[in-house]
Symmetry: C2
Subunit: 631 residues, 2 copies
């Protein structure tokens, strides 16, 4: 066997998160590619349908034309959209940049360049760039840090520019330069000698941290740290939801769990990991790990979804996890992936990859429709009534429908899905000095180099999660360790036919082309019992298969699922699916619903379940994930 | 025995609701008086403390001074409070009027007159009276019917004027004249030839209907009917919560259940009963009875509380009744009492009085503190964390604390409690041609005349609900029927030692002074099982005693109640209280809360329960009404 010792590549890692240090080294989109299965299909639809759908909506909603108006000096007249409308344009830029990076078409490149030029034209001489503030007839710059979203928008611009800089270094499109001018303005305005303030919606911290990494300019890193550290200092006004809503209640390093607005909380936490890692702040990192652990143990849905409350799109208290009113915003799920991914890179612990997988399958894949043109904003675990069908030409309220909708008045989720799917390959694997780690399982290819220079070339074949076999074939010779994640639920997993425990199953070899490592995860249906302190689902169980949560829809039951109870012991695999038996009571009710014990009688029916991510695909239905047990 | 045939008195009935017809005739505050027990104490504290507390807050918050500014022509500068601030002044007027009516002090009369004069001075030449709209620098009149609350405020003014006209007919304070000018303006602006519009918050309908009754001017009744009938015509804009929020989704007579904002829904429904009764619209009345029945069977808390959602202060879907996030706004409970009372008068059915009793004991009496100076806005059935103590000088958000607070930025509840307690005697009993009906049980006196002229003079003695014996003594001779409500929960009740069924137990007699009728209701603790479709409380039971719901507080358990499970069969009366045994688990948690069945082990403790209405009286605590069963 011949060892090829490749130098560490000088080109940027084509990944959203590239920390200066950590347990694991991220791979770029060119190093880790998904080539088949659910996620390749999702990426393909994202490229072919979603990105265009978003672009058309950004035009028709006026959110991209706002920049033309700004450039022409004709704002504020005619400006459309909410305070954060600019950010959707930037998240779309980020999605385009990743998609172009992983091989997108010339057409996408032209679309990207044309749109960037329109945004660049709106930038003011001092670097300020926001269509909502600062002009005659508008509110002054930085005058509404609680709700104005100026720094939030800027953060997304920075993340977009990072994506572009990493995938097309040296491109003359100008986005990086625009972003740097914005970042410099932010540092001037909000630096150590500037305004002692933060944005009501964390995000600028993420953009600055990553811009610092891509440019090597540590002023941006320092500014990110400053913003993170200023949380909890009560620089934002108190509001009815309390300052916890925007994580300005207690300092980041003193908090016990994520709280308040679930997207804000996750974005801030993710950026705090960036800061902790880049400034070697072990205490901060430990605090964030503890907050993550408590949040996952007590404030997270079985789907990985986060945010229990509609009223403020926020985490509830510990154990407050209603199924029917679960907010579980798609963007909070994506934020949770961002937070967990950074902790995974920092620590190398499998639990973070476990949550990412769960959230990918049950939040992100649930939100986006098969055709890539409709989305769930909120992802409840129980649907009590059949919803109305959204008009494809209308913009709907965020949680107003039980069916996927093409666009929202607050439309953060479609662009967030777009950028996440386009960069998804980067979340599948990492390297260390000594080996390669496979965190997510999909048919794909890995072409990279370990820290110590071993060339890694692997092909993954699998029909996971429908089938539990994950086959990793070595394509080039090399001496390194292959680590495969064994999820926490995977009791009875084997690696090359030997039992392995949850965590990472590791095998070291002097590999030759054609060598194979085979992980087998158990994917028989599981009946999962929730902690009894989750009052909302007491006396009920969920059905899971691999990383997938399954659900019961009225379409399969032939009756409203609200009156259905699962017959214990009746859950079984059935071909590629799962079926179970239910006792279905009629829809009648007593005059007063609080009395003495009522007999649980009803008709017995067998019904198929569906993966939760596929619910609502056949029209209006009632649905539930947690199934009460018949007694 | 001598029969005294008294003519029907020509003075107005001193009651909030006096329909033209119906199964039952309401009594005035002078005819039905509460003289002891919980409700007399609440009334006394209301008069001595709450009404003054409200008056001081209306001054210090600027809501009453707004009228001075209006009179001086110096609005809008300096106006304070939300759109509905005027209405709190009017609800306070109504409370003062009832309190003065039932014998309030000269001091209250002076307070009332002085404040009325300040409001009257702000009325414009054409009758318009609102401090928020119509002046230079304000939005035009009627320009924001969705959120402006102009007609809502006017409705409360009319109700206040009705209260005064019925308790001090012919008084020269001017309130009735002010109200009539407002009502005439409303009829001109919104009559059959005026704007085809409604207010986003129902209330004007109630005021107009009652003003029509008190003045005999049927233009007001017709206008109330017009407003009721216009609901569902989509004259209000669609909003994120949908038009159901303000009951503009479907016509009143086509709705299936109460929905949307729970105060709006109850106010509208109550006024629709007024319209149905006064226009002999049997179809509308039947529709409202059906909606009430469905709402009570599927959308009402065991406390009588209504409104499951914080996000829009609204009813949830059928069976959506979370304990922890129960909104159960105090004003929605009062609205429900208003709706049920009108249906009781119209139909004479005991179920309406049952719900009123449940709501009085478990919502209204829960909201107001013992000292009458602090209130719950929201009445959740589970408190997961110990709340912070509200600053007595601060104005808090409506649902921001777990302890009673002195005032709120939206402070509808204190004034609503004030007017309801001051007029509570009127809800205790009614008459028919043939007899008298006792709906609520408190020590008290009834002095009235049946429709056929029999003189009724009764004294009620009871320690209910601590004790189940209700003793009704006849004070003057008379030949009529005495009907006593037997609540639906009262299995085993006796009247004069004979078994009686839920409904009304009736006994007719040619009564002599000193005759007694004795109703005995069973008040042993009951273990109540909820309908299994109420997912939020599956596997849990509630403890009730008589009309009272009881709760477990951490103070009595010596541990967070979140981890407590009730030992079946352990609930027992203990002196004047109730105790039970619990299994209390420690506060630890698994890394991931969804797994296989976990052993329910823990320490066994005996703890006292408290009536739900008394929770939170000993400082911060966690609390739960529904107690999971230990297995």
């Amino acid at each position: 066997m011949t060892m090829t010792t490749a130098p560490v590549t000088p080109v940027p890692v084509q990944a959203p998160v590239v920390p200066a240090s950590g347990a694991l080294r991220p791979l770029g989109l060119d190093e880790s590619r998904i080539t088949g299965g659910l996620w390749a299909e999702k990426q393909s639809v994202n490229a072919a349908a979603t990105l265009g759908h978003i672009g058309r909506r950004l035009e028709s909603e006026g959110w991209l034309p706002n920049f033309d108006l700004a450039a022409a000096g004709s704002l504020p007249e005619g400006r459309r959209g909410r305070e954060f409308a600019d950010s959707e344009v930037y998240k779309w830029f980020e999605a385009l940049a990743w998609e172009i990076g992983r091989g997108g078409s010339d057409e996408l490149e032209q679309v990207f360049r044309a749109a960037v030029a329109r945004v660049a034209a709106a930038q003011e001489a001092d670097g300020y760039l926001n269509t909502m503030f600062g002009r005659e007839g508008q509110r002054p710059r930085w005058s509404d840090l609680e709700w104005g979203h100026e720094l939030y928008c800027a953060g997304h611009l920075l993340q977009a520019a990072v994506a572009r800089a990493r995938t097309r270094p040296g491109s003359d499109d100008g986005l990086l330069e625009v972003a740097i001018r914005v970042a410099d303005l932010v540092v001037r305005e909000f630096g150590p000698d500037g305004r002692d303030a933060i944005c009501g919606h964390a995000e600028i911290e993420l953009g600055l941290a990553e811009l610092g990494r891509v440019t090597g300019d540590d002023r941006y890193t320092a500014q990110a740290k400053l913003f993170v550290d200023r949380h909890g200092a009560h620089t934002l006004r108190d509001i009815e939801h309390g300052r916890g809503y925007y994580q300005d209640d207690v300092p980041v390093r003193e908090a016990q769990a994520l709280r308040g607005h679930a997207v804000r909380a996750n974005y801030l936490s993710a950026s705090a990991v960036d800061v902790a890692v880049d400034t070697a702040d072990a205490e901060l990192l430990a605090a964030l790990e503890g907050q993550w652990a408590r949040t996952v143990a007590r404030r997270t849905y079985i789907t990985g979804g986060q945010g229990a409350r509609h009223s403020d799109e926020a985490f509830g208290e510990d154990w407050e996890l209603p199924s029917d009113r679960a907010y579980s915003e798609t963007c909070a799920g994506i934020g949770s992936i961002m937070f967990a991914w950074r902790l995974l890179l920092a620590t190398g612990e499998a639990r973070y990859a476990d949550l990412i997988e769960r959230t990918l399958y049950n939040v992100l894949a649930t939100s986006v429709a098969d055709d890539g043109r409709a989305f769930f904003y909120s992802n409840p675990l129980q649907q009590r009534i059949e919803g109305s069908v959204p008009d494809p030409d209308e913009t709907v309220g965020r949680a107003a429908t039980s069916l996927r909708a093409p666009w929202f008045s607050v439309s953060c989720c479609p662009t967030n899905i777009g950028r996440t799917l386009a960069s998804l390959g980067a979340y599948a694997a990492t390297t260390t000095d000594d080996g390669v780690q496979l965190h997510q399982f999909a048919p794909g290819e890995i072409r990279t180099t370990t820290g110590s220079g071993a060339r890694v070339a692997l092909t993954v074949s699998t029909a996971y999660p429908a089938d539990g076999e994950i086959r990793v074939r070595v394509d080039e010779p090399g001496d390194y360790e292959i680590a495969l994640r064994v999820p926490a639920w995977a009791e009875g997993a084997t690696l090359d036919e030997l039992p392995v425990e949850p965590g990472y199953a590791r095998v070291r070899g002097a590999w030759s082309p054609g060598d194979e490592v085979v992980l087998v995860l158990p994917v028989a249906p599981r009946v999962t019992v929730p902690d009894p302190r989750i009052d909302a689902v007491r006396g009920a169980v969920a059905i899971e298969r691999g990383p997938e949560v399954w659900a019961l829809e009225s379409i399969d039951l032939g009756a409203d699922v609200g009156g259905a109870a699962l017959v214990p012991g009746s859950v079984r695999a059935d071909g590629g699916g799962i079926v179970a038996e239910f006792v279905v009571r009629d829809g009648s009710a007593a005059e007063w619903p609080y009395g003495s014990a009522q007999p649980a009688t009803g008709e017995r029916r067998t019904a198929a379940l569906v993966p939760y991510r596929r619910w609502g695909n056949r029209g209006s239905a009632t649905m539930r994930v947690f199934l009460p047990l018949a007694h």
